[in-house]
């Protein structure tokens, strides 16, 4: 990701960030130095107080050092605030750069999408054609289903005839073979099921076309 050979490009933004970071560094250096100075002076103050426990309050030097510590602390606070400001700014810049990338990505995506949509100019024609083809397909299915069911009827008739013949020829076995009449009804059930799905088949074919149409509409709007 982002590895363009051995040369890594330095952009204008990079230069700007560098400048910010340099000023951040110098403030950081300053805060370090100041805090060292403060701790050093505090140490000095302690020694002064220890050396002169009675009258250290009158000692001008003590007061002076303490004032200076306060002043330095004030500066340190300011510097810290500035440092935080700079750091905030840097993270803002970083975030903006990410946002920029996001925006660019969005733009590119949109461009490609419009280009792709242009390829759908004759979509109505195609759809009409598709619907026609589907209707034709339905007709064929129906025709075939009828034909098949006709054959089935014929088979049923033959069955019935054969059964009648059987009754005539073997009337005495009727009592024993009671379960036999049930058989045809069991046979018929799957046949009915077979013809049913063929009618249903037409609906799922239509559905995806509807979806496609719906999907294209927002795309065109975009």
């Amino acid at each position: 990701m982002g590895q363009k050979g051995s040369k890594i490009k330095i952009t204008e933004q990079d230069r700007a960030v560098l400048q910010l970071k340099q000023s951040k560094d110098s403030i950081h250096k300053y805060t370090k130095r100041t805090s060292d100075l403060i701790s050093h002076e505090k140490q000095e103050l302690k020694i002064l107080i220890q050396n002169n426990p009675q009258k250290y309050k009158e000692n001008k030097k003590t007061r002076f050092i303490l004032k200076r510590i306060h002043y330095q602390e004030h500066l340190l606070d300011q510097a810290s605030d500035q440092l935080i400001n700079l750091e905030n700014m840097l993270s803002n810049i970083e975030f903006k750069l990410v946002e920029k990338q996001f925006f660019e990505g969005l733009q590119n995506g949109n461009k490609i999408l419009t280009k792709l949509n242009k390829e759908f100019t004759n979509v109505d024609e195609v759809l009409d054609d598709v619907q026609e083809q589907i209707a034709y397909q339905d007709e064929i299915n129906e025709a075939l289903a009828q034909h098949v069911s006709g054959v089935n009827d014929y088979e049923d008739e033959i069955d019935k005839e054969l059964e009648a013949m059987e009754k005539e020829l073997l009337p005495h076995e009727e009592l024993e073979s009671n379960p036999v009449p049930n058989m045809p009804s069991v046979e018929k059930l799957p046949e009915l099921n077979n013809s049913k799905p063929k009618i249903e088949d037409t609906t799922p074919v239509k559905k995806p076309i509807d979806e496609e149409q719906q999907r294209q509409e927002p795309a065109l709007l975009a």
């Binding site: 560098l18 970071k21 340099q22 970083e94």
Partner: protein
């Protein structure tokens, strides 16, 4: 500071005449120098064997009243240069002080790369000050490393194709961008 037991052995401070023993002696010295530099974050040593920016004089052991002669110090340092534990501070190689490498440059470069990765500093400009003196590297071993030693390590990252160095108007390295 943590010294090995041999640091209190008086003959360690006298150059041993037996070559096998002397090699062992010099190795011991190198170990001591590297371990102290690492413990104290000492980066530079001059050709007299004095650490720069530190009062520690490793070759003078006051406890047992022994010092290493300047000539022998030179020999030890020469050995360190040969083993690439010391490198000359400038690129020409004739400076009077050296950087101490208790890690070799390549390991330092890798460690820095690890820092860039773990602190999420990839793909942005980072100043050398930020890298070695900023608050975010305080717990890293290269914190407080001198700038020109950092430059040497960073150049290895450039070589690996992972970085570009930014220079200021005096052609001094000031920042780096790692991807």
């Amino acid at each position: 500071m943590n010294f090995p037991p041999i640091y209190s052995f008086p003959p360690l401070y006298t150059r041993q005449p037996n070559a096998v023993i002397r090699n062992k002696q010099i190795d011991s010295w190198i170990d001591i120098i590297l371990s102290i530099s690492k413990q104290q974050s000492l980066w530079e040593i001059d050709s007299q064997g004095k650490f720069i920016q530190s009062d520690i004089n490793i070759f003078d052991n006051k406890n047992i009243d022994r010092i290493v002669s300047p000539l022998f110090i030179k020999e030890i340092l020469q050995n360190m240069i040969k083993n690439q534990k010391l490198i000359s501070k400038d690129d020409v190689g004739n400076s009077s002080s050296y950087f101490i490498l208790w890690k070799n440059l390549d390991s330092w470069a890798s460690l820095m790369l690890e820092w860039f990765e773990t602190t999420n500093k990839l793909n942005q400009v980072v100043t050398i000050y930020e890298l070695t003196s900023g608050d975010e590297s305080i717990d890293w071993e290269f914190h407080s490393m001198p700038d020109s030693l950092v430059s040497k390590c960073l150049r290895l990252l450039v070589k690996r194709g992972r970085a570009t160095i930014l220079k200021d108007e005096f052609n001094k390295d000031i920042a780096i961008k790692v991807v």
